[in-house]
Amino acid sequence: MNTVPERFVVPIGPQHPALKEPGHFEFTVDGEQVTAASVRLGYAHRGIEKATEGRNWVQNLYLLERICGICSHIHATAYCLGVEKLAGVTAPPRAQAIRVVVAELERIHSHLLWLGVAAHEAGFDTLFMYSWRDRETVMDILEALTGNRVNYSANLLGGVKFDMTPELQDMILKGLEFLEQRTHDYVAVVTTDATLLQRTRGVGVTSREQVEELGLIGPTARASGALRDLRVESPYAAYADFPIVPVTATEGDLEARFVVRLKELFESYRLIRLILEKLPEGELQARMPRKIKPAETISRVEAPRGELFYFIKSNGTDQPERIKVRTPTLCNLASVCILAVGSQLADVPMILAGVDPCFSCNDRAVSIHSTKLGEKQWTWAQLRQYGIDYYRR
């Protein structure tokens, strides 16, 4: 006779319709109420950080861009800015401005994508279809600019690869006009649609204190009234010359996250128009040395999901000694486990989507889960030895 009720765990992932990427969440539920939550990551670990140590500075640019399929440009920008700082080179103003234009276009594409995913989690497929249809506009712009829809490769060490021709500018402005009008519609939908509000208003409320406690960043933090935006706090590239007005909200619920992300779109439209109007003249690329003397630096940029952090260490050769990447999802994911407890099971996918998780960006740490070996952290040498022994057997 077991009087202690059995734990009823609803597993979400590694493969699950709510997740577009592999991650594993275990939600213990009592009826529809979530009583405990745990997260396990690492399914999309690709060893990119280690791989950078065997490639030269230029090759790494293209490798690091492939960390994330959505915010590829911002990874390359963080890396370029860091390496340029190490080499003592500054990219020309025109190149910096073009970097910002592409970064903001990427933010538009990322936020529209998120809008669709979040709407789908709420079971509002019509909004999902429409927002993804409109996202094609900005994808077309990015393709016309760079030749690619996903990994744009707009950056070069010391500059950018392409110039902004008048035809391209016309195309961007035309696209933005359409998108701006559509974004007004979306703001109206997420702030007035009764059924969607039932699923977002007052759900997953994150207080200002929790933002500090959990170290949340990006739009997730801004929706709780915390001004965390590197474009304002420590302007990089052309953000010092073309400042943005940060968007914040105070409610901290899912509705606020919808509103903050959508209003950021207006800010992006404004900034892109401003830059195109006052695009600095000049070179597109500064000359970069092939080898970089031993030094280390930190490069921080504002990705669509929050602060993206790069630590780069050089050793005097044409290859980096160490590159460490911390993506915004890692900082925000902890909040899912905290917020999920006590909420309804039906709200969990919404809360999860609310931080705009991006797992494949995230999976870089190695921790060993094995009943045989016990749970512990390994050094790189131990892990390597384990791998060799495993396959020798």
């Binding site: 319709p17 079971g123 019509t126 649609d193 059924t195 969607l196 039906a346």
Partner: protein, 307 residues
């Protein structure tokens, strides 16, 4: 001669194959309209047929935990229930194949059998998605069932009979939709709940519990459950159209009225987000039941005045 007539009725028209084909066609209309509203292309006309044909040829995986006999039997009972109820309603504007006093109640409960079987099918496995889905399916059944039933009984009260045949004869040409607007709205939204369509698709919310109660089903079982759902769509539309939209005399009227009704359903489905199960229950018991009871009060008083 009677035996042949009965067999034809059961297996070909208006029951059996005809209802199945009609159900799949209406499913296609639903999907296509939904897709067009959402700015998608949508499936081609034979897609539901192809889906079912494909599922029927697939291997059926029977989970080890749970009763295998029940696992195989429930889809058959569910589809049989839906098909049987088709015999008592004016499918395609035809007279109901069989009729007796009180067949309205029988038909409505035969339709609920499908939902009940879905719930039991989910509870018959140890899969956690299925169990949560089964709980939600049954919870939802208890929330919409009573208001929906009361809404369907409204026209019956006016016709002074519980025989579908006679209700339709009474409702023919009388647009009950204007006499009992609340009943019509509750019946229409109840139909969405019965068919587990958005916003009442929490029992099969794919982003939470994959496919809900039917997660473990594949192959034939899934095909039969889906066929049951398709048939239920047609019967539900037929009943609401016959009771509330001035009857369905003849095939053109039937097609026209049910399609208009379906267009309404698609409109509601595409405009709303999914409700949580607690919100669904709240909606039905706080609003649905109260509204339909208010309608009943008016009806009873009116009948009293008339008598």
């Amino acid at each position: 001669m009677d035996t042949i007539r009965d067999l034809v009725t059961l297996f070909f028209f208006p029951g059996g194959l005809f209802v199945l084909a009609l159900g799949m066609s209406y499913e296609w209309v639903d999907r296509k309209l939904m897709a067009r509203v959402q700015n998608r292309v949508g499936p081609r006309w034979f897609q539901p047929f192809a889906d079912i044909a494909k599922l029927l040829t697939k291997e059926e995986v029977i989970p080890l935990d749970g009763n295998g006999l029940l696992f195989l039997g429930l889809p058959i009972v569910a589809l049989a229930g839906a098909l049987t109820s088709a015999l008592y309603v004016p499918v395609a504007g035809w007279h109901p194949a069989y009729s007796f006093q009180g067949d309205l109640i029988v038909a409505l409960y035969l339709l609920s059998l499908l939902t009940l079987c879905t719930g039991l099918a989910g509870a018959n496995t140890s899969d956690h998605f299925s169990l949560v889905g089964a709980t939600r399916t049954l919870t939802q059944l208890f929330s919409y069932e009573a208001p929906f039933l009361l809404a369907m009984l409204g026209p019956a009260v006016m016709a002074h009979t519980w025989q579908i045949n006679e209700i339709i004869a009474d409702a023919d040409g009388r647009w009950m939709l204007f006499l009992q607007p609340i009943g019509f709205i509750v019946a229409l939204i109840g139909l969405l709940g019965k068919l587990e369509m958005s916003p009442f698709n929490a029992p099969e919310a794919e982003t939470e519990i994959v496919a809900g109660a039917l997660t473990e089903y594949s192959g034939r079982g899934l095909a039969l459950f889906r066929l049951g759902r398709h048939v239920e769509l047609v019967i539900g539309l037929t009943m609401v159209a016959a009771f509330y939209m001035g009857g369905v005399n003849g095939l053109p009227m039937f097609v026209l009225k049910t399609l208009i009704l379906l267009l309404g359903l698609v409109g509601i489905q595409s405009l709303v987000a999914r409700l949580r199960i607690d919100q669904t229950v709240g909606l039905w018991w706080r609003w649905g039941s109260l509204l339909v009871l208010a309608q009943w009060l008016v009806l009873v008083v009116w009948e009293g005045v008339q008598a």
